[in-house]
Amino acid sequence: MTGRDKDSGRAPPTRARQLATEDTFLAAYTRRRAGQKHDLEVLTFRLADEIYGLDISWMREISKLRPITEVPQVPPFLPGIVTLRGTVIPIIDLRRRLLLPAADASGYTRILIVEHQEEPFGLIVDQVLKVVRMVEQQIESAPLPGGIDSDFLAGVARVEEELIVLLNLPTVVTFALEVASR
């Protein structure tokens, strides 16, 4: 990481260069498997103007956006389902889930396929960034971005001058459906 990176803030061209591809993600994952020890490895991604992160042990894969089949009578943050290699995966629009302003999909939009209690979920994010390693001490329960339900947050980490909002997957993917009244 160079100083120039820090200075350039979140200007898209720089960001594009450090965009994590599926390959870099995989490479990081493999390294972890090989036993290099870090307290925590986090896949970072962009949502609105913030950087968020999820512990990569929850990650299964990253998928390009694909046609989503609408499911009736579900909360607005559930746009529907996709089928990935024969498995039905409910999709969560993470912007809506976190009550961030909605936005149209772009070429960078991805679905993070995650797993919680052996059930897969897909999270729509604006852009996948990279895998960041951090130690526990870097994580604070410090100022939270406005409006986000703190139940969804696992903490905030400062890594190389950047603030990463760490999400708590279990609460993000746990929700009740309104059961249609009889």
Binding site: P72, I81, V82, V88, Q117, E119
Partner: protein
């Protein structure tokens, strides 16, 4: 946890499950023999003993101490029974069946990585120990061999069990024969098995003993001791065509058969050639075997056992159903590839590559054929006979009827009818529930039955049969039937239906009120059927299997519950429909017919839309309203799904030629009439697209509570569509109707 351990655990569970099922089956057969006053089949007892013995070994291996203890104590009891030291009574069987249940619980616990609690087994074990105490041995004056002259060398190699069976057979007046034959070592398991099969109908094989000089290393000569009530001639007949000879064992005080060659050879334990001995000695070095019969191990019997085991292993493979699901998934995806190829074919059909197009078409066709073959093959593998569930039922009937003090005969037919493994599993609880209800509420007490002029023993008949691609399972009792007035009263009292609708209901409608949620009549609840969980749960279970449940009853004569189930859920036929720009699949097995109507045919009664169909009023429900769908912009998802290939829909419309407006310019609507039991509902959709085989996939836990949706399926081109849950929709519509809410 490593996946290796998981795999081992899964294998343990499935093997143990199988053993417990066998044990249960054997015990039931034995109990039946006992009840009928017949001799118990020693083979069944011995098999049960072996089953428990294996369970002990297996559970010990997995550190399930409590389970292993249970098996150990049970083994002692069965050992005492098989050695004739203990004669089982009805309460002995109660204990044995209780053990089967405990094993079931143990396996459930093991699946979660646990074991039985000590408290769960302690009391049982102490009762079991009391029951296993051998009875005082009967006084026997002689050696119990009834004058047969057995060489000391022979007696010394018999196991305690074999010796017991020998004495027992002689006591019962059987004649002892010695069969001798040479068996090719390479195929010795087959050779022995074939002799076993021939001899079994006429007698009991007591032991196999190697004999002869062992001059030919590629063969093994065996003496087989057989006890039979048949004459020598008959035994010679059954082994005709084999190299095996039959001679009676000489007996003092009787005229020996003139034709019999004197049996001079002394059977020896001597050197069975390597290949046979190796597996025998390598067999689970069981300290357990020694515990159970402390005086000696049972190497000889184990040779035979080992042989049969080898044989069965080579013919069946246990497969985790999830592996089959994965294969099915793969087939489903191949189907999508096939669809892709077809559309490619259509696109290049107009090109100049005439020859190549033809070749491709040919290849695609043979792909299709093989795919169908593969699909059918996998479906077939998933099929298991209903016997698995029916066997469990016998146990329940036995237990419940004993505790209710009612005599009940369970009459089962069609146990060989096959269904998808998953359906069979899911059927177990509903069936159990229905049977308990029958015993508890259906069958009258003995006194009542006699005064009603019925036989004191009540009968519950469970029948299964296949009809096309469905299986019908019915449970009928000859009890006092259901009083529909009482049902109507309860339902109105509980506010589930209003008086007015009760008036309109047929007797059958009234009976089916039983399946309404909340219909459990608490005051009737007993420990047995615990009406708290009502029949609505049964209905939900059956509906989840895309099944239909119906009840009929004649007062004083009995009640019959009928379940109609699809043979498999893995692949089903569905109608593809379009509603408000979305595509859905409707399982065909809930569809009665489909109609084309114009909006002017729709009338409104009490705020509900209906049409007249063959003089009957048919309730309509618009899928668009049920799901509260907004209209999509025309560009959204307007791609018609694949799969419409001019298939005839029920109702007789060729699917690809459906007009969208009538001659008067009115837009047509399509009504798919669906039904569960006697309920009919017309689902209004915009378009009928076609009919297609689909693989239903579950939506996963997060979306499992979604109403009206049974799952999802892929139609090709990354297009996932929802599969509608017909029973759920009918129920929802009926429930809405009950509160007279306008749609």
């Amino acid at each position: 946890m490593s996946s290796g351990t998981d795999k081992a655990l899964n294998e343990f569970l499935s093997e143990a499950q199988e053993i417990v099922e066998t044990l249960n089956r054997n015990l039931l057969a034995l109990d039946e023999q006992r009840a009928a006053g017949r001799m118990s089949d020693p083979e069944l007892i011995n098999d049960s003993f072996r089953a428990v013995h294996s369970l002990k070994g297996l559970s010990g291996l997995f550190g399930l101490t409590q389970t292993s203890d249970l098996a150990h104590t049970l083994e002692n009891l069965l050992d005492a029974i098989r050695l004739g030291k203990l004669h089982p009574r009805p309460d002995t069987f109660d204990l044995l069946f209780e053990a089967v249940e405990l094993f079931g619980r143990a396996l459930a616990a093991a699946a979660d990585g646990g074991d039985l609690e000590h408290a769960q087994v302690a009391d049982y074990l102490s009762r079991l120990q009391v029951a296993s105490a051998p009875e005082a041995p009967e006084e026997v004056d002689d050696d119990g061999f009834g004058g047969y002259q057995f060489e000391a060398s022979l007696l010394s190699v018999l196991t305690e069990y074999e010796e017991h069976r020998l004495r027992e057979n002689i006591r019962m007046g059987a004649v002892i024969y010695r069969l001798n034959g040479k068996f090719d070592l390479m195929a010795i398991d087959k050779g022995i098995e074939s002799i076993k099969e021939r001899v079994k109908p006429v007698g009991e094989i007591l032991t196999y003993l190697p004999s002869g000089e062992g001059t030919d290393p590629s063969t093994l000569e065996l003496d087989i001791l057989v006890a039979s009530h048949e004459p020598l001639k008959k035994l010679r007949e059954v082994v005709e065509g084999t190299s095996v000879t039959v001679d009676p064992v000489p007996r003092s005080g009787r005229e020996p058969d003139r034709t019999a060659a004197p049996a001079t050879r002394t059977p020896t334990r001597a050197r069975p050639p390597e290949p046979v001995q190796a597996p025998a000695s390598a067999r689970r070095a069981s300290p357990t075997a020694q515990e159970s019969s402390p005086s000696r191990a049972e190497p000889r019997q184990e040779v035979a056992e080992e042989m049969t085991t080898l044989r069965s292993v080579s013919q069946t493979v246990r497969v985790d159903i999830r592996k089959l699901d994965a294969l099915m998934n793969a087939v489903g995806e191949l189907g999508l590839v096939h669809t892709g190829l077809l559309s490619l074919l259509e696109r290049i059909a107009t090109s100049k590559l005439v020859e190549e197009t033809q070749t491709l078409r040919h290849e695609v066709r043979s792909l299709e054929r093989k795919l169908t073959e593969l699909q059918n093959g996998i479906l077939e593998v998933r099929m298991v006979p209903l016997r698995q569930v029916f066997d469990k039922l016998s146990r329940v009937v036995r237990k419940v009827s004993r505790s209710m003090n009612k005599q009940i005969r369970l009459d089962i037919s069609g146990a060989d009818t096959e269904l998808d493994k998953l359906i069979v599993e899911e059927l177990s609880d509903p069936l159990m529930h229905i049977i308990r209800n029958s015993i508890d509420h259906g069958i009258e007490s003995e006194v009542e039955r006699v005064s009603a002029g019925k036989p004191e023993v009540g009968t519950i008949s469970v029948r299964a049969m296949q009809q096309g691609n469905r299986v019908i399972v019915s449970v009928a009792d000859d009890g006092h039937g259901i009083d529909e007035k009482a049902i109507a009263e309860t339902a109105t009292r509980l506010g589930l239906v209003d008086e007015a609708s009760i008036q309109e209901m047929s007797r059958r409608d009234l009976l089916n009120l039983l399946f309404l949620p909340g219909m459990s009549t608490r005051e009737e609840a007993t420990e047995i059927s615990g009406r708290g969980v009502g029949l609505d749960v049964v209905k939900t279970n059956i509906a989840n299997l895309s099944g239909i449940i119906d009840v009929s009853s004649t007062p004083g004569v009995g009640t019959q519950v009928t379940m109609t189930l699809p043979i498999t859920l893995a692949i089903i036929q569905a109608i593809i429909v379009r509603v408000a720009g979305r595509t859905y699949a409707l399982p065909l097995n809930g569809v009665v017919e489909s109609l084309m109507i114009t909006p002017s045919e729709i009338r409104t009664i009490e705020g509900r839309e209906v049409i007249s169909l063959r003089r009957q009023t048919l309730r309509l429900a618009r899928v668009k309203d049920i799901f509260r769908l907004r209209d999509l912009a025309p560009s959204d998802g307007a791609v018609p799904p694949t799969g419409s290939r001019g298939v005839e829909l029920p109702g007789g419309f060729p699917a690809d030629a459906l007009p969208s407006t009538s001659p008067d310019g009115e837009p047509y609507l399509y009504v798919v009439v669906v039904g569960i039991a006697q309920h009919r509902l017309g689902l209004v959709v915009d378009e009928l697209v076609g009919q297609q085989d689909i693989v239903i996939k579950p939506l996963g836990r997060a979306l499992s509570s979604l109403r009206g949706v049974a799952g999802a399926t892929e139609l090709g081109g990354q297009k996932t569509v929802l599969v509608l849950d017909v029973p759920g929709m009918v129920e929802a519509a009926l429930a809405r109707g009950g509160t007279a809410e306008a749609a």
